[in-house]
């Protein structure tokens, strides 16, 4: 007799019952639950010896000291170096995640050439040959077309090499990137400053050397002149919300009060050759007129003037927001003039002249092409443009650069990742990314002493990586590598026997005169260190000129940058945040602009409730910002901290696609003096 259906059921019943008395079911549910700890969705952190290594941050001019916690050789976190002479143990948000940059999805690992709107790999020699050919062509044809290097990080030894090369290249011109402060010859003695009058400079938000500034914050008064209620404005002792583009008017208004009330430094004024002319100009801006232009009450301006000079050494600084591009010369001069009135130039707590790290032979100023702003280059003049590393660049309005290009042109971008300006290039050269190459960092623009830091390489660059100097050498067919020139420079510093070395490893300082050999100095700097020159004794400048030939430009700027426009009644004010407005951004930055509302994000504009209401746009709706030069779609954030009639637009990364500020910045349009920080605009619901 065979097994019936019922029999089978019985058998299975017995089996089921038996199974429960074995480990099987229990091991299975336990094992499966534990599997959820290490299933494929969960990554494995690296294992190995944890080491501490040091380098210097080259992502922006601040040149902060960096302590890298590494597993074997891979940095897993970066931090500041305590007691560092300028960074004082501070790294900014961007610096903290710098070790991600070599690993970005947009990383460039081989030379690329543009084909239509795509890039294709090519051998590096093809790129070098193309450029060399163009140079040859200019030389032979004797045309006036220019060969230019656009340097995002001037003042480096590499910059010197570029300038020397341009000195020999046909019609070479060396251009400072719009966002870069020129290698200034004056630093600010911030620790002793009494009052800082900031015209739009993000003083507490990544300006100059953040560590040094924030450390001194308790000791100086801060008056922030800015349309937008920036982070700095929120924390300043006084906030003067002026109408967009009226900085110069306010500066002259304040000068007017200082002169009228005899609050200025007579001695300093006497040293100025054109003081009378300047005073005459200021006389045209009595508080009343300044008030009409800036939208501030007249008495506020008077009070601000008194406040400015009322608390020890006063400095006025003109700021370029990392997203908004440079400030016009007119404003710069009008603001700088206040420092002459305050007599803060060459005084303790004011602007102190500073030298530069000794240069190796062959780099005397005479042998180098001079520094120029982009505006200085004639339009449609540049045949060959080499852009060095948009890594640290603030946002660039590409049209400001494009208009300078000749009809037939070659743009070569040296960059670690395909971001920012590099995306406009014809050729992309895979430069070593941050932490991948020994570099030098010059003194930060605001530090009142010459400095020289080395950024030791913590990582190996990809095999095909080519740095700028290497690229020039390939065209010239030979030449000293950057590392060699750096060694020469270190030798020059050692030979000068000035200043001292700060060691990141233990915070100790040794006088250069006590360092045995140039090799030892190199070693000390490479394993984490910086050279600081001895502070030059403060001394008043000799004869200075305030306006120079720029009187008319100042007057123009002071009369207001934004003429009324019936069609475009609103003012468009772009702004950015340091380390994220230009090139590549670590994906961890999403914490700030996507996963929280710390940053409104590069796809938004902020409006005052009244403005929003007038245009029938509600919070979070999408609007189209229209200017004479272009338009862009953005999501609206209603915020009653915004000035009525103003559109604030963040330049930076956003959840919808990484940093792509073109549409906005091109809409802002480029003014005659090469600025794009303001525009007339109108708004409509999308």
């Amino acid at each position: 007799m065979g097994l019936g259906r019922r029999d089978l059921l019985k058998l299975m019943g017995g089996g089921a019952a038996g199974l429960f008395l074995t480990p099987v079911p229990w091991r299975l549910i336990d094992g499966v639950a534990i599997r959820t700890e290490n299933w494929p969705g969960v990554p494995d952190p690296p294992r190995g010896e944890v080491r501490t290594r040091y380098t210097t941050c080259t992502l922006c001019p601040a040149a902060c000291g960096v302590r890298a916690r590494s597993v074997v050789d891979q940095p897993v976190s970066l931090a500041g170096v305590a007691a560092h002479p300028t960074s004082a143990g501070v790294l900014c948000a961007a610096g903290l995640c710098g070790h991600h940059l070599p690993l970005l999805p947009s990383r460039v690992r081989q030379p690329l050439a543009r084909r239509g709107d795509k890039f294709q790999p090519v051998p590096i020699d093809t790129v070098a040959a193309a450029v060399a050919a163009a140079l040859e062509d200019i030389r032979n044809s004797g045309s006036a077309e220019r060969v230019a290097v656009l340097d995002a990080r001037p003042g480096r030894t590499a910059s010197l090499i570029y300038r020397r090369w341009l000195g020999t290249a046909p019609n070479g011109i060396y251009l400072l990137a719009p966002s870069a402060d020129s290698s200034a010859s004056l630093g600010i003695d911030i620790a002793r400053t009494g009052t800082v009058l900031s015209f739009g400079a993000p003083v507490l938000d990544g300006w100059g050397t953040p560590g040094r500034v924030l450390e001194a914050r308790r000791s100086f008064r801060l008056i922030q002149v800015e349309t937008r209620q920036s982070r700095t404005a929120l924390l300043a002792d006084g906030w003067l919300p002026i109408r967009p583009g009226t900085e110069a008017a306010l500066a002259l208004g304040i000068a007017n009060v200082l002169i009228a009330e005899k609050l200025y430094d007579a001695a300093a004024a006497r040293s100025a050759s054109d003081f009378a002319e300047y005073a005459a100009l200021a006389a045209e801006f009595p508080p009343q007129r300044a008030a009409e232009l800036t939208g501030l009450p007249a008495q506020t301006i008077v009070a601000a003037a008194r406040d400015f000079v009322g608390h020890g050494t006063a400095v006025a600084v003109a700021g370029s927001d990392p997203g908004a591009g440079p400030m016009g010369d007119g404003e710069r001069i009008a603001i700088a003039a206040l420092n002459v009135l305050a007599g803060s130039i060459g005084r303790e707590g004011g602007f102190l002249p500073r030298g530069e790290a000794p240069r190796p032979p062959g780099f005397e100023e005479a042998a180098l092409a001079p520094e120029h702003g982009i505006a200085d280059a004639p339009d449609a003049s540049i045949r060959v443009l080499i852009i060095d590393d948009a890594r640290a660049a603030g946002a660039w309005c590409w049209s400001a650069i494009e208009r300078k290009l000749a009809r037939a042109h070659i743009v070569v971008a040296l960059t670690g990742s395909l971001d920012g300006a590099a995306r406009h290039a014809d050729f992309v050269v895979p430069a070593p990314a941050y932490l991948e190459e020994v570099e030098d960092a010059p003194a930060p623009p605001d530090v009142p002493a010459a400095m020289f830091s080395l950024a030791g390489a913590l990582l190996k660059p990809p095999p095909e990586a080519v740095d700028g100097v290497d690229f020039l050498n390939r065209m010239a067919g030979g030449g000293a590598a950057l590392a060699d020139v750096l060694k020469e420079r270190v030798a020059a510093i050692h030979a000068a026997r000035r200043g001292e070395v700060f060691h990141y490893t233990d915070g100790a300082r040794t006088a250069v005169s006590d360092v045995k050999s140039a090799e030892d100095l190199w070693k000390a700097l490479e394993e984490g260190g910086c050279w600081i020159d001895r502070r030059p004794a403060p001394k008043q400048e000799g004869r200075v000129t305030i306006l120079g030939a720029a009187a008319d430009r100042v007057l123009e700027a002071a009369s207001g940058r934004l003429p009324a426009d019936a069609l475009y009644p609103l003012a468009l004010v772009p702004y950015g945040w340091r380390g994220a407005s230009g090139g590549a951004v670590s994906p961890i930055m999403t914490k700030l602009y996507q996963e929280s509302d710390v940053e409104t994000g590069g796809d938004t504009v902020e409006l005052h409730p009244d403005t929003a209401q007038r245009y029938g746009i509600a919070d979070r709706q999408v609007a189209i910002v229209q200017t004479r030069c272009g338009s862009c779609r953005r999501r609206v954030r209603v915020d009653d901290a915004v000035m009525p009639g103003v559109i604030q637009a963040e330049v930076g990364p956003s959840a919808s696609g990484n940093c792509r500020p073109e549409a906005l910045l091109d809409a802002c349009g480029v003014a005659g003096d090469g600025t794009w920080r303001l525009a007339r605009a109108s708004l409509r619901r999308a």
Partner: protein, 410 residues
């Protein structure tokens, strides 16, 4: 051809017609299972819940469904413990409804948690202080009880009766039915309560937080009471619905009215206590936590009206109607009132879950809004479809309404 499975003396529609009725529900179920599958495979990012709306549609409806399913334990309690034998007419139906509601709710909960494979940790490493532990334990146990209570219905099936051992077993079960009912009542009492406690204990959510009576916050008892109150109403509604669909009467009218009256009595008590609780909360609990009750009702659309609707329109009103014998006799009044009562409890559960989470607690918080994703809706529709299917099958092949045969004979 499935005649041999249908109890004698019951007229059921033709198989083909029955299958046509099942088809749409089966499709709905399939769609729901797909949505749930997405949530399980791709993760809860398929829902519109977020870190602030940690609970959403699912928890709200689970609470509602379980409250409505309370008819099972409460009718059982009335029949077996309080010996209201006339209610035997609906007890079977009530058991099936209970089974459907509870099993459905538990299934959705399994999708709702982020790591279903770890769900059993609650039994292995229980935190006795957590209301959720109480809920989990009681619901699982009670689900077992319901399954056992469902068994005799199943075994009474014309075909299964042919197995002699089943018959014996079924008879044995009947003798312990009283015990089961008792246990069931006890368990349900606790988890209905702890479901209320779930929110009542949230000190960090001043809108939901209630002070403790003994070890439980007042919401514990309010939930038990409200559930018991709407249980009968829901049984009443379903019975009526089945009658409409089946096209003939299933229980005698007095039974329906009895159910209505029971609901009314409990509802009026509930409304009374709820009102007192609200007053205490307004004048004592909230101020003590540094808030004023007005703040919570300052955010549109959740104004004070919601409180009024919950207590008066969907509480007091149906209670009064159900307590009025003359109105009860009118089918329309009876059903409307029952419907209102159920809606009232649903609204209460909504306020406790959704509104609580929507309200800010910190000065820089915003009032939040949330709308379920289609995956969330789909998953829940699966439960509805599953319920209809199970009930339809049970109705066709089992004897859910003992009176049906006699009523037909008349």
């Amino acid at each position: 051809m499935d005649r041999s499975y249908i109890a004698r003396g019951l007229d059921r529609c033709a198989t083909r017609r029955f299958l046509m009725w099942l088809l749409p529900w089966a499709l709905l179920l399939a769609f729901g299972v797909y949505s749930a599958g997405l949530c399980l495979v791709k993760g809860l990012n398929q829902t519109n819940m977020d870190n602030r709306f940690a609970f959403g549609l699912w928890i709200f409806l689970d609470l509602t469904v379980i409250a409505l399913g309370a008819g099972a334990f409460f009718t059982g309690f009335l029949v077996y413990i309080l010996r209201m034998h006339e209610l035997k007419a609906v007890i079977n139906s009530a058991v099936v409804i209970g089974l459907v509601c509870y099993s459905g709710a538990v299934t959705v909960l399994m999708v709702d948690v982020g790591q279903p494979l770890r769900a059993w940790f609650t039994f292995w490493h229980p935190n006795v202080h957590s209301m959720l532990t109480e809920v989990t334990f009681c619901i699982t146990c009670y689900l077992t009880v319901l399954a056992i209570e469902y068994l005799p219905l199943l075994l009474k099936n014309r075909r299964l009766r042919q197995v002699p051992s089943f018959l014996v077993f079924e008879f044995e079960l009947h003798r312990v039915m009283y015990v089961l009912a008792g246990v069931g009542t006890f368990l349900s009492f606790f988890h209905q309560g702890s479901l209320g406690g779930l929110y009542g204990v949230l000190r960090g959510r001043p809108f939901a937080f209630r002070e403790a009576l003994g070890v439980w916050p007042s919401t514990f008892f309010l939930f038990v009471l409200s559930a018991a109150a709407v249980g009968p109403s829901f049984v009443l509604l379903t019975t009526w619905l089945v009658e409409k669909i089946a096209g003939h009467q299933l229980v005698e009218r007095p039974v329906m009215q009895k159910l209505g009256r029971l609901s009314g009595v409990l509802l009026i008590v509930y409304v009374l206590l709820k009102a007192i609780d609200t007053l205490v909360w307004m004048n004592r609990t909230t101020p003590a936590e540094g808030f004023s009750p007005q703040q919570f009702y300052g955010f549109e659309p959740f104004g004070v009206w919601i409180l009024f609707a919950e207590i008066v329109v969907f509480g007091l009103l149906p209670a009064v109607i159900l307590l009025d014998a003359r109105r009860r006799r009118s089918q329309a009044w009876l059903l409307t009132a029952a419907g209102f009562a159920c809606a009232g409890v649903a609204l209460n559960r909504f306020v406790m879950t959704i509104q609580t989470l929507a309200l800010p607690t910190l000065p820089f918080d915003r009032f939040l809004s949330y709308w379920p994703s289609w995956q969330e809706v789909g998953t829940f529709l699966a439960v509805v479809a599953y319920g209809v299917l199970v009930y339809s099958l049970s109705y066709r092949y089992l004897i859910l309404f003992p009176q049906e045969r006699d009523l037909k004979a008349r």
